[in-house]
């Protein structure tokens, strides 16, 4: 059976709200980056931009939102198609393996982002 144990907030409302909030943060971040790129950047101004603490925090928020958003979204997809009802035990095993892979990937992205933002 599919349980909610591996969902994000364990409750439908929590997942739903997290999905909306993370979506808004991501939208704001991409608009911001888009605006910066369109108004023309070179190496120096790009470096100066990311030297500011608020840009680092905004970027970190965006990548955390991305991780949450992707986790909730992919969890919904996996629990639609890869379930015990559809494929027997294989469904559960396959879903769990993919969830672990997704979790590791997202974790790596977050750590990598922190490294980039605060490492240079």
């Amino acid at each position: 059976m599919v349980t909610a144990a591996t969902s994000y907030g364990r409750s439908g409302v929590a997942d739903w709200i997290a999905q909306r909030v993370s979506g808004i943060i991501l939208l704001a971040y991409f608009l911001f980056i888009g605006y910066v790129l369109l108004s023309g950047v070179d190496y120096a101004s790009w470096k100066a931009l990311f030297a500011q603490t608020w840009v680092k925090i905004f970027s970190l928020m965006a990548v955390l939102s991305l991780a949450a958003h992707a986790w909730i979204g992919l969890w919904s997809v996996l629990t639609d198609y890869l379930t015990e009802r559809m494929m027997g035990t294989t469904g559960n095993v396959l879903r769990l393996v993919l969830q672990v892979l997704i979790g590791i990937t997202l974790f790596v992205y977050v750590v990598w982002t922190v490294q980039i933002l605060w490492g240079y």
């Binding site: 059976m1 599919v2 909610a4 969902s7 364990r10 409750s11 439908g12 409302v13 929590a14 997942d15 739903w16 709200i17 919904s76 629990t79 639609d80 198609y81 379930t83 009802r85 559809m86």
Partner: protein, 234 residues
């Protein structure tokens, strides 16, 4: 001649389902799909399907006609036949018992989950529980559902998780009691819906609205439930 193709399956004699083709002379008349089935059944008495009222009231003849769910008794050929061809299948996503007859067990157990009856613990008044015309009006577009299952069986979220997602029909009835001013267990009802599946598997693609033979709008009702759940949580 109308070309009719009907889904046939008798688990006692067939290994797997197959489509059987028929030709029918409708005399150029715009009859209902149910009339077509009745005439074909006169030719081949083994064709099985459910029907009762033949006027869109009982909800027993929900079928998939040329790819779209609806009630056979109130679907005229002109509304569904293209290129002189009519393909009739059982409602999708539910186990087939025989031919066009499906096992509605999963559909009903989701309906049962929403406790589709009025609950009120306060002492009953001498005559009846009154409701203002405004409060009564809130139930319009909700109480008319005939549980034909056309909506839930057209919903992909219900196909994938019929055991956990309540589905449009059940949720429409859930909201019918959430919206009722005489019902006093709103909080208990909402608490039971706050998991990632029961309500939140709805992704708002409105297949349900598209097929409801009663012109009801389950998506809107689901939106109301979601707002109530969010308001309750924040």
């Amino acid at each position: 001649m109308l070309q009719v193709s009907i889904y046939r399956y008798n688990p006692e004699s067939d290994d797997k389902p197959y489509m059987q083709d028929f030709q029918l002379d409708t005399g150029g008349k715009d009859i209902m799909v149910l009339d077509v089935l009745e005439q074909l059944k006169a030719q081949d008495t083994t064709i099985s399907y459910r029907r009762s009222c033949r006027e869109g009231v009982c909800g027993s003849d929900g079928l998939n006609m040329n790819g779209k769910n609806g009630l056979a008794c109130i679907t005229p050929l002109s509304a569904t036949v293209k290129n002189n061809k009519l393909v009739i299948r059982p409602l999708p996503g539910l186990p087939v018992i025989r031919d066009l007859v499906v096992d509605m067990g999963m559909f009903y157990s989701q309906y049962e989950k929403v406790q589709p009856y009025l609950q009120n613990d306060t002492p009953a008044p001498a005559i009846e529980r009154l409701q203002s015309p405004e409060d009564r009006a809130k139930l319009d577009g909700l109480y008319e559902c005939i549980l034909c299952a056309c909506c839930s069986t057209s919903c992909p979220s219900f196909w994938w998780n019929p055991d956990r997602f309540i589905g449009p029909a059940g949720l429409l009835q859930s909201y019918r009691f959430l919206a009722d001013s005489r019902d006093t267990v709103t909080e208990e009802r909402l608490a039971k819906l706050d998991d990632p599946f029961s309500v939140f598997r709805c992704h708002g693609i409105q297949n349900c609205v598209n097929v409801c033979p009663k012109g009801l709008n389950p998506t809107r009702a689901i939106g109301h439930i979601r707002n109530m759940l969010v308001a309750r949580a924040t």
